[in-house]
Amino acid sequence: MFYREAGDFKTSYTADNQTFPIAFDRYGYFLVLLVGLGVVPFIINDYWANSILIPFLIYAIAAIGLNILTGYCGQVSLGTGGFMAVGAYTSYKLMTAFPWMDMVTITLLSGVMTAMVGLAFGLPSLRIKGFYLAVATLAAQFFLVWMFNKVPWFYNYSASGQISAPERTLFGYAVTGPNAESWVKYVFCFILVFVLAWAARNLTRGSIGRQWMAIRDMDIAAEIIGVNPMRAKLTAFAVSSFYVGIAGALLFTVYLGAVEVGEAYGILKSFLVLFMIIIGGLGSIFGSFIGAAFMVILPVVLRNVMSDGLGWDTALATHFEFAIVGALIMFFLIVEPHGLARLWSLAKEKLRRWPFPY
């Protein structure tokens, strides 16, 4: 009834091409932004920030990054964890070497550094594709983790090889370190997510995004119609790594505060982000968000329901959590192999044709 294009006249090319062509969606989007920035920071507590919202926002950035590479450009990558580690270690080195630097600069520079590393590891994609490329990026994952363990310069020669984020401020508010308020950390992540998701959306529907998708759909055909495969693939690697690097940096600086590379950025992290985009939906920015929500928030909710709500034994609850999340992943992929984003868009199609959907 409310969810339809009828009556919403588009009078310019810009209006016709907007991301949310339906008024209901558009208002929903503004409402999310308003609540996210105008309400949540005032009511948020430590638990909600540190256990649910901040990890969700950070993983959403990582998922958008991997989605650009895998979902839009069709290059499978298993190196996400390693690239996140590059972001984290870059920001650690910057934070300790230049104490005056503010967090926005540090985070963006970490992204740039990761983009360069990603570019280097993207070179094999010019010759190999599919599973073979996955293996090459897997090598990046193991190499990077090994390197951060092996070279003491990266962790400032600390005894344990751990890196910990010192306190850094932005506009006088501590963003990192133990004294940072939850709402500051949340707002910092929220704004970064907003800017990055907005940029990603506009990149993917512009000329570069179309080149990526052309390469994904059929690289030979794309080359024939004039897409430069080297340029397209390498930009995809660079942009994707930029996002992933920022996510890795935030995971370390804002969320965890202290990191051990083998555990925080191991192969499991690569798989986690890959699962996020597969479940959320390949080639969809919105899918990256629901994928991240599914993999980050669902386990926490299950844990709270089972061990606090039902009073189950914690070990039993953990085993059940594995089983339930696994079963749900299978269920959603059987019902809709294109991910949750596709389910969402089908639902919207049906709503548009309400009350006579087909």
Partner: protein, 425 residues
Amino acid sequence: MKKLATLVVAGAMAATPALADLVIPDLSYRTGPFAAGGIPFSDGYQDYFTLLNERDGGIGGVPVRVIECETAYNTERGVECYESTKGEGALVYQPLSTGITYQLIPRATADGIPLHTMGYGRTSAANGDVFSHVFNYPANYWDAASVIVNQLLEENDGDMSGQTIALLYHNSAYGREPIRTLETLSEMHGFNLSLIAVDSPGQEQGNQWLQIRRERPDYVVMWGWGVMNQVAIQEAINIRFPMENFIGNWWAGADHDVAQAGADAAGYRALNMNRLGDMPVFAEIQQHVIDAGLAAGDGTNLGAVLYTRGMYAAMLAAEAIRVAQEIHGVADITPAMMRDGMEALEMTNARMEELGMPGIGPEFAVSCEDHGGTGMAIMTQWNGSEWVTLTDFVAPDDSVTQPLVLEDSAQFAAENNITPQCTSS
């Protein structure tokens, strides 16, 4: 079914707003590759508090409420557990994971909640001047490294020059902690140090033991945990490494580590920070906790190496609560009072005897500057069917570890702008 019923009852009781109680979160891990060590420790930790509740009605008349939270030895879940339990008035955290400890040191310090990392965590936290809320008594990793070397020196008549010690370590913050001390000691005593890393969780150690077989070190010292220990011991047997020259630290010397290899592992030695064997307190736990159906686990771990250590940790926490109650004259203490209690803790043989665990640990006293205890440890040996205590408490070489502690904590203080808390005294 009975267990489930008690859990439901316990859950229902926990859900109702309690009167005064002492909240102790137990960040345990009963799942994942490290569960073998996490389960007995957590059982011992919880059972001791249950014993105090059942037998004495709590500590100073206030019952203890233990909140268990599963971390699976994963740092992100550890943070979540911390955030979800700290609001309940948690008095002290005992994460049993060096990785989680590193996360919690700044957070807990900012929140004013003490952290007790007994024989693990950040070694330099022994310097209470810098780490106001972190305690790692009775011993730490650098003490352990030093004790092992002292023991080996004694066996070699004080001369180890030209010998080789291989350190087989879990490639994480935990395993890397002793490297600095061992390097210093190797320069001092002239032995060669070979570093061999095992990636977590440590089920694959073929290459590492091939290297050991090729290099033929005189001793292998292991910093392992979880499934890594069992695999390493099996691999050592496979290459016929002399087991009495294979020495684990105190996290690599539990019953389940050697049980699978059984008699083949006879001779394997490990350090321990607490004494083993039967103690009067076990009978009381059996009577008041396990027979009453209140045990945290299935009750089979009673008296096991890590069960004993978990119980020892709980005892040190309970004693600190008692000291805090005495200092402040309040029964329902706050985390800040708990910190004062931990800093004024003094363990004597008489007190340990009184508690039904004679000589379970060394005597030590905590002070504002020294949060680390004496660092003494005993050497134990697996004889094929049980752990045998070989030595009395052996002291570490403080002249080696103390400068390292000061150096590392000074670096931490500089990075984080910490002003020493004890300068006034």
